[in-house]
């Protein structure tokens, strides 16, 4: 794993959740991108509540994953709380595009 990023798999109410912690930027985004590409079919819930920083490099990885999931009619939910992640989503308008929830409970509620 890149220094400032960790990616862990866990379960919540019987659903697989991929929890990302740390910073998603030019240095760490490739690690996340590779993870999302390699395990695409089973990444349906991506929890970014542990992400302390994200910039457009990270955003592009999320958009690619979203696009790939949409193209295959696969669910791809992103969990984010008020903070740097939701701020970036808001200023770029991608909060209207992505499937966003604010908690794991909300993410699994309509799974």
């Amino acid at each position: 794993m890149a220094n400032n990023l960790s990616i862990d798999e866990c379960t919540h109410a019987g659903h697989a959740v991929i929890a990302v912690r740390g910073e998603i930027d030019l240095a760490t985004a490739p690690t996340l991108a590779a993870y999302l590409q390699d395990g695409a079919e089973h990444v349906t819930i991506l929890d970014l509540t542990g992400v302390s920083f994200i910039d457009s490099t990270g955003l592009r990885v999320l958009l690619s994953a979203h696009e790939a999931a949409s193209g295959e009619d696969r669910r791809f939910v992103i969990i984010a709380e008020q903070g740097p992640v939701t701020k970036l989503f808001s200023i770029t308008g991608v909060d209207e595009l992505l499937d966003l929830r604010d908690s794991r409970d909300a993410a699994v509620a309509d799974a």
Partner: protein, 120 residues
């Protein structure tokens, strides 16, 4: 207010140092006792512009400068905005422009002018 020297960081143009540039910008912003929202905005702008400089393929060191007196500015060189070719919604300079109203592209770099309060 007495003039104070600019804060300047020079880093190799490598992805692993983008975080260093953010840390520099955040530290300077906190030393200047800026609002925490503005600190986060400056971290984002720094990250976007330094990343863009590196994406442009430069071999030259990337320089981040913060001028701490009115007008307060954050500058990154060398930055070529045309080096970006990804989706428009995630364009680095546009993201910087969404949080800072004064963004100037000149002299091979990008300069953001900011005040004491965040705009977004």
């Amino acid at each position: 207010m007495p003039d104070t020297a600019p804060f300047r960081l020079t880093i190799p143009p490598r992805a692993e140092y983008v975080a260093t540039a953010r840390l520099f910008a955040a530290t300077v912003a906190r030393v200047l006792e800026l609002d925490e929202t503005l600190v986060e905005d400056l971290k984002l702008a720094t990250s976007e512009l330094v990343s863009l400089a590196i994406l442009g393929g430069t071999d030259a060191p990337v320089v981040v400068t913060v001028v701490p007196h009115e007008p307060m500015t954050l500058s990154v060189t060398p930055v070529d905005p045309s080096a970006y070719s990804g989706p428009a919604v995630a364009a680095p300079v546009d993201i910087v422009g969404a949080v800072f109203s004064e963004v100037e592209i000149a002299s091979g770099g990008v300069t953001v002018t900011f005040g004491l309060e965040p705009t977004v």
